[in-house]
Symmetry: C2
Subunit: 289 residues, 2 copies
């Protein structure tokens, strides 16, 4: 059920991004944007679509917010892959944008994908009430800017030159910014669109986001690079502190399992309707990519 | 009168950006953001403040939109200065962000400044009516993304490897995207905030934006690098087509003067109240930086 619904959400948001970008000028930079938004797990899109469904929001509205967060996520990956950042040449099993095009194009593609995210949210198709759209714009800006995702990325880079590994507390705070903020936004967006209480989905996403990152660190150690579609064991090579290096592999697995259980428990107000979100929590800690 | 009002707008927007960024986490990436938004002519901020004043919009609201467009402009400069783009080490008379910090920080600073622009517009201090804020978010996204400023930058980069210089028509279209779109947004923002007809300010800004770019090309040939605070004669060195190379220096000057006059004429509905905007049009074609 979960994997099916994930696939449906992924196909829907991919189609929507394709449609939206079809209206853009036929230029190499737009081709590279189309390339950059392809593929990926689409977990953030799924969270938006499921959260929206729980609140009776029309999929035509939800897909706008889902496409926005996937565009924003794609921008962060394109910039993160740059030689001056993580220097990755493979992403989602394909050459990264700066490898397939060049660095200048990769900078501009990331810039334009961020803009696209806010453009999508501001569009009337997202919600008829401008106040709801503004709430989404504002919260996405907070989640992704210098007090959210970008702060986490900067903290991550700073950690490499800090001369000492991060503590568990520091790495938890870093990840809450770097990946957690966007996952929280995704899970909450449906409640915002439904003008409902965001509390339960926020609690769910906070636990889910941390479980996701711990699982990522486990995958970096135990994973299969081919299945993951990206280079692995980079953190160990770089001598970076991770949840695995700090907690040990077995304790990290237990912690991820506890967080997944915590995420599931947070959904109790929704009863059986939230079953696929519960499955998502179990998926996040067992995925191979 | 104009230079005084430009100075007041510049000081006001600089103070506002300082206040806004004071609330951000004390991190190197935020220090670099504070650095990147310093200085500059603040022409875009001035256009917002003056356009707002013409429509009776409170300066406390206008300064939010002015700060937003200056943050967005600063992001584009930080990314444009990167080694993979224009590779500039001097901007506004100071070392560029990637020189003073590093390239990764410059990428993140640009990313976060773009986010800040949308965050500022979405804030209730910009306008009590969310519909007005959404209109500003939406129009800024259109002006700056892959159908606006970023498209212009990509066209500019593509021109370098095109094997032939651009035609006058192509360079006019390129500049309308690269610098024109943001200048138009700035001039129109006051009318949007005042929920008034944007037509006259749009016509003014279209002529002003092109005059600005022609003047930039003239400055690149005739200017004093010290006064300009940046490296000059780059276009000639790179063999790039400019308004000067296409029209000749004297004809370019005449064209800029005609456009400035056209910009002034577009303001006739505002009468004497728009005098400082008229002076701005004259300033744009006579500036030394």
């Amino acid at each position: 059920m979960f994997s099916e619904r994930l696939e449906i959400a992924a196909a829907r948001v991919a189609g929507h991004l394709r449609d939206v970008l079809a209206d853009y000028p036929d230029q190499p930079v737009v081709d590279a944007m189309r390339y950059a938004v392809q593929g990926g797990k689409r977990l953030r899109a799924f969270l938006v679509m499921e959260g929206a469904a729980l609140h009776g929001v029309a999929p035509e509205q939800a897909v706008q917010a889902a496409a926005a967060v996937e565009a924003l996520h794609a921008y962060s990956l394109v910039h993160d892959d740059l030689p001056c950042m993580d220097d990755d040449d493979l992403r989602r099993g394909l050459p990264t944008v700066h490898v397939k095009w060049d660095q200048a194009t990769a900078v501009l593609v990331g810039d334009a994908l961020q803009t696209l995210a806010f453009d999508l949210l501001a569009d009337a198709r997202t919600h008829p009430d401008p106040a709801v759209r503004i709430a989404l714009v504002s919260s996405l800006a907070r989640a992704s800017g210098a007090a959210g995702m970008v702060l986490g990325q900067a903290q991550d880079i700073a950690a490499e030159t800090a001369g000492r590994p991060l503590t568990l507390k520091e790495i938890t705070a870093l990840q809450a910014n770097k990946t957690g903020a966007l996952i929280r936004w995704s899970a909450e967006a449906g409640a915002v669109l439904g003008q409902a209480d965001t509390g339960p989905l926020r609690a769910y996403a906070s636990a889910l986001g941390l479980a996701f990152q711990i699982a990522d660190d486990i995958l970096d150690v135990e994973g299969d690079a081919e299945k993951a579609g990206k280079r692995l064991q980079k953190d160990a090579e770089a001598g970076k502190a991770t949840f695995v290096s700090l907690l040990g592999l077995e304790a990290a697995k237990v912690r991820a399992q506890n967080l997944a259980a915590e995420a599931e428990a947070a959904l109790s107000p929704y009863g059986a309707a939230a079953e696929s979100l519960r499955e998502a929590a179990r998926f996040v800690i067992s995925r191979e990519n």
